[in-house]
Symmetry: C2
């Protein structure tokens, strides 16, 4: 295994830059960290550039499949590892993963979760994880959403990028394509101008649009949906957190 | 209105200490900030110690009821305000609120959300906000939960402490009292040893127990419930975030 002992190593400097979206976009790569995430990447055949382990993390490689052993790997010092790690207590295993740039096509599976300008990374990551758990096939992220390859999104997504198809696209264009596939799109509103999700009748495949934390789904999109729905508030809270609302709706729609 | 212009003022020093749980416990007070939260506190008759405004925030007082005008108020400089503010862009209005120490009694209203060792402040705050939205009457926080008066919990709770009854109690003791009131307690499990929440039949008032982010609800508590339930995972995600799970369950139970 190749060894890196200097924090000034040029490859380490390159990886450190992946903290920034600009460099992730340019290299089309991102970092994942920890036994669970690296394991999920390998299990689901993600396109790995390299694997980096410390002496402590080296043993974890043995738990993984052939892919881990055929991927270019580096043994790095604890000090080098900490330079590129984004967690307080690193497990000593990390992988550089090629971004996937999926597009909507005939093979893309529903149900679809569409995110319109969801800005909080924790919300974006949690909604993708929840979509995965609810059995949704695809999440489409419109412009203005938190970057799916940022450390915070990756952390709350918990590896669901390897389970569901993630598409970054203009939402109006995506909706046009979904409609051509005869997929019903349901928008969500923050107030009862729409019908209660409990009264929704679903036939066939569908998409659900969740919106910005403050403004909700844009009017432009709400005007293009089959139906808009809302969650009735029984108490005195003014609204629900958008990730909570998405969870309630996705699990409810899946049981219809 | 009394004025404070020095960051070394003894009252300001006292308020600064409220960042720490130890001092909140000793004084039985906590700070809330911003027009929305202070407005909710006033609207729901919270026991206010003082109100602090900057010149910019002073005008907001006029929007509030008589209570705001009869509460001891201070006009402070921007500099003084920043010393005790916990947000990046302060609105210039803050209130010192007396903690409420509610106990389970005949007047406590259900449904009940019970939190067993939920440690993340964002999760605790979001679950209380969601309980409020779902029409739950009471949230009981067991030992080991994040402090409800910490800045992070207060931020994600969004004023729901003024809408639902919050009780801090040993959970086993609380469950005994709830059972004496003939309230059915449902525990949640992370795996299908329990029945699906979709198969649950509810009669009368009830309580729902949510557990620690990693370990779930403790065995001791699960052994004392009427029934334990779980959320079936359709996709490949290993689990749901606990606040998302709570949202799905509370809204589902309320519609039964």
């Amino acid at each position: 295994m190749l060894e890196i002992t200097s924090t000034k190593n040029s490859y380490i400097k390159e990886l450190k830059k992946l903290e920034k979206k600009k460099h992730r976009d340019a290299s089309q790569c991102y970092l994942i960290e920890g036994e669970h995430l690296v394991g999920e990447a390998i299990k689901h055949g993600a396109n790995l550039e390299t694997i980096l382990v410390t002496e402590a993390g080296r043993g974890l490689l043995a738990n993984f499949s052939e892919l881990a052993r055929t991927t270019k790997s580096y043994l790095v010092t604890e000090e080098v590892f900490k330079v590129i790690s984004s967690v307080p207590a690193p497990q000593g295993i990390m992988a550089v993963v090629h971004q996937t740039n999926d597009e909507l096509n005939q093979k893309t599976m529903g149900p679809y979760l569409l995110l319109d300008n969801v800005q909080d990374p924790g919300n974006v990551g949690t909604m993708i994880r929840t979509a995965d758990a609810a059995g949704f096939g695809t999440v489409i992220l419109g412009e203005g959403c938190a970057d799916i390859y940022s450390a915070k999104v990756l952390r709350s997504m918990q590896g669901s990028q390897f389970h569901v198809t993630l598409i970054q696209s203009n939402l109006m264009e995506a909706m046009t394509k979904l409609k051509e596939k005869n997929i019903a799109i349901y928008g969500t509103e923050l107030n009862p101008e729409a019908i209660s999700y409990r009264d929704l009748v679903i036939e066939g495949d569908y998409g659900l649009v969740m919106g910005n934390e403050g403004q909700g789904v844009s009017k432009e999109i709400l005007n293009q949906t089959r139906q808009n729905i809302y969650i009735p508030i029984d108490g005195q809270a003014e609204s629900l957190n958008v990730a909570i609302a998405a969870g309630i709706l996705m699990f409810s729609l899946r049981s219809l």
